[in-house]
Structures are given as structure tokens and as C-alpha cells.
Amino acid sequence: MTGKNRVGEIFTHVFLVLFTIVILYPVMWVVAMAFTPQQGFSMSLMPIPEEPTIENFVYVMSTTGSDGSWLFGRQLLNSLVVSGLTTVFGIFLACTAGYAFSRFRFVGRQGGLMMFLVSQMFPGTLMLIPLYVILDALGLLNQLMGLVLVYSTSAIPFCVWMLKGYFDTIPRSLEESAIIDGASQFTIFWKVILPLAKPAIAVTALFSFMTAWNEFILATTFMSQESSYTLPVTLRNYVGEHSTYWGYFAAGAVMVSVPVMALFFALQKFLVGGLTAGAVKG
């Protein structure tokens, strides 16, 4: 290694370390706020609480409803159920559709793909009332299932495109040999294609989960009782128009972010391959 390269690498490291610090600062700041007792900001620039306390966490976790039930537990359960089901639905819907778009040449295929892309352009403000009316008509208003269905369909267009691209990179010869072995269409999909597409499926799962875990506007609109809120709704209300409980918000933010970040980091090694395999096939 030449000396010039060494210097270059040191500069790269200095730059990357500084950049990473800038990027991580807001995160450290909110963590510090979560452990700071008062409901305001700390006046110090250093994101380290002077007298660390867990009282914010205790408060947020012990909120109860008007009937004395354990509200935080209930809302955590709601969030888990909604996100979990959305993930399952999202994977099922995106995998089947992505497979069909990748492997079959059928009438309406191009139109269908374009439809999925176009649906990304529908402004949310256009959909609120119609979705409310439709969920009401289906009897799914104020039901977790209603949220699950809406979230699943809002996450699939992107996932279908991504999965289709990934399926495209899987060689067809694998399926052809499976056909010769007498495998049925479904067996090929289930036993040959899906196992090979694990990275893209992992990314689909991640996106579906995050869609449901992070959403609050639809949840605020469709859920009328505190006991059926998901966590983001409560969290957003801590820093609403009438109240600013920054300490509670920070504690809640930390608790809400930790699971999704854990999932993100568990699956992040798939991100690079899963996201771009289809697009760079050449």
C-alpha cells in the first residue's frame, strides 16, 4: 500500500466518522431527552442527561384508560397484531403477484404493472374519506383488521415491483428441470422460487412491517377509541397541538423505534441485494 493511499484512507475515515456523528446526533439527543426528568429540552449541547432517570419510561408504560385498563399494553398489542398481520398479508400478496408478473406473459400484465406504479401517485388526502366509507361499509371501522387490510395494500405496489425484479434474476432452467421432475406449478413456486428469493422476501417483510408500525394518520382516522389506537397515535398526541410532553414523547419514541430498528438491522444485510437485484440485471 502506497503512502498516498494511506493518507487518502485516513481522510476518508475522518470524513466518515464526522458524518456518522452528525447523522447519529439527533438519535443520541432523543435518547438523552428520554432519560431527562423534566418535560422540556435540556439546555446543554451534549446529548448526555445529567441525572439519568427512567421516570418517563415508567409513565409512558403505565398509562391506563378511563376504565382503568392497562392502555399501553393494549396499544402495544394492537401495534404488534396489526404489524404482524400486515407483514404476513404483505408477503403473501406481493410474492404471488410478483411471481405472476415475472414468470407469466398474460394479457393485462403490462397494464397491471403500470397500475401498481400509478397507485403510488394517489395522494393520501384523496383516499381518507373513501377508505373511511369503504371500511365502514365492510364493518371494519374501529377494527384492527381494517387497518391491516389498508396497510397491506398500501405496501404491496413497491414490494411487487421489487420482488418481480428479483424473481427475474432467478434462472428459468431451475423451473424447467423441476417440471421435468414432475413438479406442479405450485410446488415450483413454493419449493423452488420462494427459497431462492429469501433476501427480497426479507425486505418485503421489513417494509410491510414498517408501514404498519409507523403509520398514524389512518390509524387516528379509523380508530375512535383509545383502546384500539396503535402506539404511533398515542406517541404523536404527546407532542400535539395542545400538549408538549417531550420527555414522554422521547421515551415512547425510543421504545417504538427499538423493535423496528432491531428488525431493520437483523435484515439489513438483505437490503442491498433485495432492493436492487432486479434493477441491475443489465
Partner: protein, 652 residues
């Protein structure tokens, strides 16, 4: 080409027979659905009847809140006297001494029998608080108090339908000041009964039209020159029929209901006058009773009251009218779909037997998308032709669009300023996301670099954090007094020797500062996605290319220009287009960080549309605004797609 592992499932039927059957089915289904819509529209009175009951219950509640039991009793008698549809009315109040009611016919109340009311009363008097066995009743009595809590909206009335008689009952709380101390209930018999939908007749008509249309279309096969004429004929006949039917149905049912409502309002007013209530008391009574009847109220007084019943109530109010809008427009959208997509629908239907698996795999997500994405979209487009005051909807055609595009909304930022801000916002964001993401990816690509995995993991942290949390964190960071950004700037000024450091009011100060705050937040949040996409694309570029270039003596910059960029395009273009669409509609950041301020100057189109929806309560206008946003995005995508051919490779 076609990949059909199970060719034996191909059904044995002549192609022309399939085409004809499919055409027939499509036309028959469309015609039947449209007719069913129109009939259902005409036939469904359920909401109207419910609101009659609610109206009387509210009037009764308002009277008994202010007056003694004698006046309330007289009011019930006076209101009910001339109206045969009035079944029963009751009021119960704290203390239990004021229980009274009248009933006509067998039911004391369509929703509760006498025992039930009695036990509610017992609960009420014994506990002293508004606790009740009946969940509905409890909600109706406690509702008003609970609506006061920010962020929590509870129902403030209960509605019930007796399945047998069709009678509608409404229960409302009796409130004085902030105290709820009783409940009032009214049951009315339906005055305009629902008409059952004659499905058989509709199917028959649909089938006749379907057969006729399909044979017309297949006759075209013999004489292709008539094709366009036959198509135009079918579509024109259908449009005319639906248009006339819709117009007739809309005007007749709406004016019928309006007349009935006005009669109800007048009856209550007469009853109140006969009891000797003074004019302000009557006005206030009507206003309280008329919460969901602003149409009739406005019709009588010329001034519809301004209402703020919270978000849910307003969406509730949209519900009934919304159904009308959807019926009117679903019919038109269906026809439009038939006109544009007739051949592709037939193509898909005829394609099913050839590729059964393909459609089987697509069906679940397609059904989901149609029901929960495309139908709401069509509904929303339909709403854009309507305007509303609280509950009443009226058809305004393209007036909403004219109002948006001519910027004639009073007291607001011009549409074109908001459009400019949106374009600036999207352009700057994408430029920053791509350049930062690509730059980092190029740094991290270096195989000799140590700790690159650690860097990569740490640098995608912003992506992993929910974006509303990100937005709120940065809102705090940009806070004028305590925000870290200002603290940092003050430190810098101290170090530079400035005696009195100035702090910037980021979010409320000026357009530039608030816009910068939004931009910083979204850049922080958005670059990791581009970085990951670029990393993936870079990994797929074979190293030999660079080695060969180095042998040829190409500089780093030349290598970047001739190898890296061209090979990144297939991955970057779709990501950029998608990123543009997402950023263009990036609601959370603007809404939560600057909130559009100061003076709505940093609103982007989507948040401005939401403001029309949430603050102004103009749903039709917000829908029209959203349609404009969609049109802009569609145009953008079509143009860039044509230039970059970004999706071409993927669709082929």
C-alpha cells in the same frame, strides 16, 4: 415466450365463442351494476330516517335541558300531535323524578322496553354518576364530556333501527353547561320506506343490453368499417341513460328529503312557539337540534351554523352524502372504464383459460388493490365535482378546479406559490439524496476500506427510525429556545467572539428558515435509501471494467463518467422516479416539522390539500386538489419515463 407448465388446463372452446361470452358478460355486468346503483340510490332512505329521529331527540334534549318537565312534556305532545310517524319519546333525568314519555302503538320505545329504561334510570339515580348497563346509553350520556379531551373523540349520540318495524330510535344526552344529567330518546316510524332492489329485473335488463351489445360488437367482425360507430352508439346510449337516470334520481330524492326536513324543522319551531319560548331560545333550540341538518337549517334561516364536532363527526357527515357521490361517479367511472378498457377487459377474460395460473397468482393482490386503492381513488375523483357545507353536498362541476387553478381562494397562499415550493422541495431533496447517497456509496465501495460494514450499518439508522418520530425530533432540534441547532450556532458565535449571539426562529421566522428546517430533516431521513440502492448497483459492476480502464490510462473522474454512471442508471432511475413521487407527497415532514408555517408559505401541495380537508372541512375541494396533484405526478412520470425509459426494461 409464454411459460405454461400446465398446458393441459387449456379449455377446449373456440376463440370466437370466448370473445363473445366475455363481451356479453362484461356489458351485462356493467349495465346491471349501474342500474343497481341507481335503484339503490333511489331506494335507500335509512340514513335520512335515522337523522329524523336524531333531530327530534336533539330538539327534545335541548328543551329539557333548559326547561322544566312540564314544558318538556308539552313540547313532546305538541311535536308529536301532528305527526303520525312519531312513535315514542322519553326523557330521564338525574333524580328520577322527571321520568316521562309518551308512546303511540305497541312499543314504548323501539330500542328499549320499559323495564330497560327503568333500570337505566335506577343505575343513574343509585350511582349518581352516569353509569349504565346499556353501553349505548352510557356512551350517549358521557359522550359530550369526553369529546372535550384533545385527541379523543367519542360518539355523542346513539342510533338504533328496529329490524321488524323499521322504526329508528335516537338517544342523546341532556346537557346543561358541562354537566350531563340525563338522556332523551325519540323513535319515529319510517316515512319514506326503502325500496328493495329488484335484482331479477335488473339482471334481465342487463342481460338484454349485454346480449344486444355483444351481438352488435360481434356483428362488427363481419363489417369492420362499422366498428367505431357501433362502439360510439353503445357508449353514447349508456352515458345518456345513466346521466338522465342519475340526474332524475339525484334531484327527486334530494328535494324530497329536503322538503321533509324543512317540514320537520318547521314543526319543532311551531311547537316551541306554541309553548311561549322566545325567539333566541327557539333559534338556539333549532341550532342544537340541527347539528346534522344544516341543509335544512340553512334553507330556513339563510345562515348555516358553523360547526366543529371534531374530525370524526365531519367524516360521519360526509358518509351519507359520500354514498351519493360514489354512486353517481362510480357509474360514470365504470362507463369510462368500459369505453377505454373494453378490449383489454375482454382480453383479460379471454386470457384466463389460457393462463389460469397467472391470473390465480395475481388475483389476491389485484382484488385488494381494486377494493382498497382504486375504488377509493375513483370515489375521490367523484368527490372533486362536489362542494359541501358541513353536511349538504352540491354539484359544482369543475368549479373546484377553476378555484384552485385561478388561485381565487381568498386569504390564502396562491396555488402557484405552493406548486413552486413543492417543485423546489422535491428537486432539492432528490438532488441531495442522490448526491449524498451516491457519494457515500462510492466511499464505502472501496474494498480496502476498514470498518465499512460498521459505517454502513450506522448510516442507515435514519431510515430505520419511523419518519414521524424523525420529524418530531427535528422539530425539537430546530426549536428556537432549546433546540440543538440554535445552541450549536450560539456556541459557534461565542467562539467567533460575537458578544450577543443571535438565535434564529427556524420554524416561525421566515419562509427560508422554515423551508431549510424541512429540507434538512428530509435529507437526513432520505439519503440512506439512495445509498443502499447505489451500493447494490455498484456491487454489480465488474471490477475488470475499472482495471481495463486503468490500463488504458483513464483518470478516476473519467472512470466515474464512462463506467460508473452509465451502469448505475438502470438501478438509479427507477429509484429516483419513485423517490420523486414519495418526496412530492411527503406529508409527514412538512406537516410535523414546520406545519406549513409561517403563513402557510412552506406548505407543499399535499399538506395544503390536507388543510382544505381538515381545517376548512371542504372535502370536495380537497379531493379536487388531490386530483391536480395526481395529474402533475402522472405527467411527470410519463415524461421522465419516455426520456429515461426507466420502467421499460422492467415491464418487458
Amino acid at each position: 415466450m409464454a411459460d405454461r407448465p400446465n398446458a393441459e388446463t387449456h379449455m377446449k372452446l373456440e376463440p370466437w365463442a370466448w370473445t363473445l361470452t366475455a363481451q356479453l358478460a362484461v356489458i351485462a355486468v356493467v349495465v346491471t351494476v349501474i342500474l343497481a346503483f341507481l335503484v339503490a340510490w333511489e331506494g335507500d332512505r335509512s340514513e335520512f330516517e335515522e337523522h329524523r329521529a336524531l333531530f327530534f331527540a336533539r330538539a327534545l334534549g335541548a328543551v329539557s335541558a333548559d326547561q322544566g318537565s312540564d314544558v318538556s312534556r308539552a313540547f313532546i305532545t305538541a311535536t308529536a300531535a301532528k305527526d303520525p310517524s312519531f312513535l315514542s319519546a322519553w326523557v330521564i333525568r338525574d333524580g328520577g323524578e322527571d321520568e316521562f314519555g309518551i308512546s303511540r302503538g305497541q312499543a314504548y320505545d323501539a330500542s328499549m322496553d320499559g323495564d330497560e329504561v327503568g333500570s337505566i334510570l335506577t343505575d343513574l339515580t343509585e350511582s349518581g354518576v352516569h353509569k349504565s348497563r346499556s353501553d349505548r346509553f352510557a356512551r350517549s350520556t358521557s359522550g359530550l364530556a369526553e369529546t372535550q379531551k384533545p385527541g379523543h373523540v367519542a360518539p355523542y349520540f346513539a342510533l338504533d333501527t328496529d329490524e321488524e318495524s323499521g322504526a329508528r330510535s335516537a338517544v342523546v344526552p341532556v346537557v346543561r353547561g358541562a354537566t350531563t344529567f340525563g338522556a332523551a330518546g325519540v323513535s319515529v316510524a319510517p316515512t319514506m320506506p326503502d325500496a328493495p332492489i329488484p335484482w331479477l329485473l335488473l339482471l334481465a335488463i342487463g342481460a338484454v343490453v349485454g346480449v344486444g351489445g355483444a351481438f352488435g360488437l360481434s356483428a362488427v367482425k363481419a363489417r369492420p368499417e362499422l366498428r367505431s360507430k357501433v362502439l360510439v352508439g353503445i357508449i353514447a346510449a349508456a352515458v345518456l341513460g345513466v346521466g338522465l337516470g342519475g340526474w332524475w334520481s339525484y334531484t327527486s330524492s334530494y328535494s324530497g328529503e329536503l322538503g321533509r326536513r324543512v317540514a320537520d324543522v318547521e314543526r319543532v319551531r311551531d311547537a316551541a312557539t306554541s309553548l311561549g319560548l322566545d325567539a333566541p331560545a327557539i333559534a338556539s333550540l333549532l341550532q342544537q337540534a340541527d347539528v346534522s341538518f344544516t341543509g335544512a337549517q340553512g334553507y330556513l334561516t339563510g345562515t348555516a351554523p358553523t360547526l366543529d364536532d371534531g374530525f370524526e363527526a365531519r367524516v360521519q357527515a360526509t358518509h351519507g352524502a359520500g354514498r351519493r357521490v360514489v354512486i353517481f361517479w362510480a357509474a360514470l367511472v365504470l362507463l369510462l372504464g368500459l369505453a377505454i378498457g373494453h378490449r383489454s377487459i375482454v382480453g383479460v377474460v379471454t386470457g384466463i383459460p389460457e393462463q389460469p395460473h397467472a391470473y390465480l397468482y395475481v388475483a389476491p393482490s389485484l382484488i385488494g388493490m381494486v377494493v382498497l386503492v382504486f375504488v377509493p381513488f375513483a370515489f375521490g375523483v367523484g368527490m372533486s365535482a362536489f362542494d359541501n357545507d358541513a353536511r349538504r353536498y352540491y354539484f359544482v362541476g369543475v368549479e373546484n378546479f377553476i378555484e384552485i387553478l385561478t388561485g381565487s381562494r381568498s386569504g390564502d397562499v396562491s396555488f402557484y406559490w405552493t406548486l413552486f415550493v413543492t417543485v423546489l422541495w422535491t428537486g432539492l431533496n432528490i438532488a441531495l439524496h442522490v448526491s449524498i447517497g451516491l457519494g457515500l456509496a462510492l466511499l464505502l465501495k472501496n474494498p480496502m476500506l476498514r470498518f465499512k460494514k460498521a459505517y454502513r450499518v450506522l448510516l442507515i439508522v435514519p431510515w430505520a427510525i419511523p419518519n414521524y418520530i424523525t420529524a418530531l425530533i427535528w422539530k425539537g432540534m430546530f426549536n428556537k429556545e432549546f433546540g440543538a441547532v440554535n445552541l450549536f450556532l450560539e456556541k459557534l458565535q461565542h467562539l467567533a467572539g460575537v458578544a450577543e449571539p443571535t438565535s434564529i426562529d427556524w420554524l416561525g421566522g421566515s419562509f427560508l428558515s422554515a423551508f431549510t428546517a424541512n429540507l434538512v430533516t428530509n435529507t437526513w431521513l432520505g439519503f440512506p435509501f439512495m445509498m443502499v440502492v447505489a451500493l447494490g448497483a455498484l456491487q454489480s459492476i465488474p471490477n475488470e471494467l475499472y482495471e481495463a480502464a486503468e490500463v488504458d490510462g483513464a483518470s478516476r473522474w473519467q472512470q466515474f463518467q464512462t463506467i460508473t454512471l452509465p451502469l448505475l442508471k438502470p438501478a438509479l432511475f427507477p429509484a429516483i422516479i419513485l423517490g420523486t413521487i414519495w418526496t412530492f407527497n411527503m406529508f409527514n415532514i412538512i406537516y410535523l416539522v414546520s406545519g406549513g408555517g409561517p403563513n402557510n408559505s412552506t406548505e407543499i401541495l399535499i399538506t395544503d390539500a390536507y388543510r382544505a380537508f381538515d381545517v376548512l372541512g371542504r372535502y370536495g375541494f380537497a379531493a379536487a386538489y388531490s386530483v391536480v396533484i395526481f395529474a402533475i405526478l402522472l405527467l411527470y412520470t410519463m415524461i421522465t419515463n419516455r426520456i429515461t425509459k426507466a420502467t421499460e426494461g422492467a415491464v418487458e
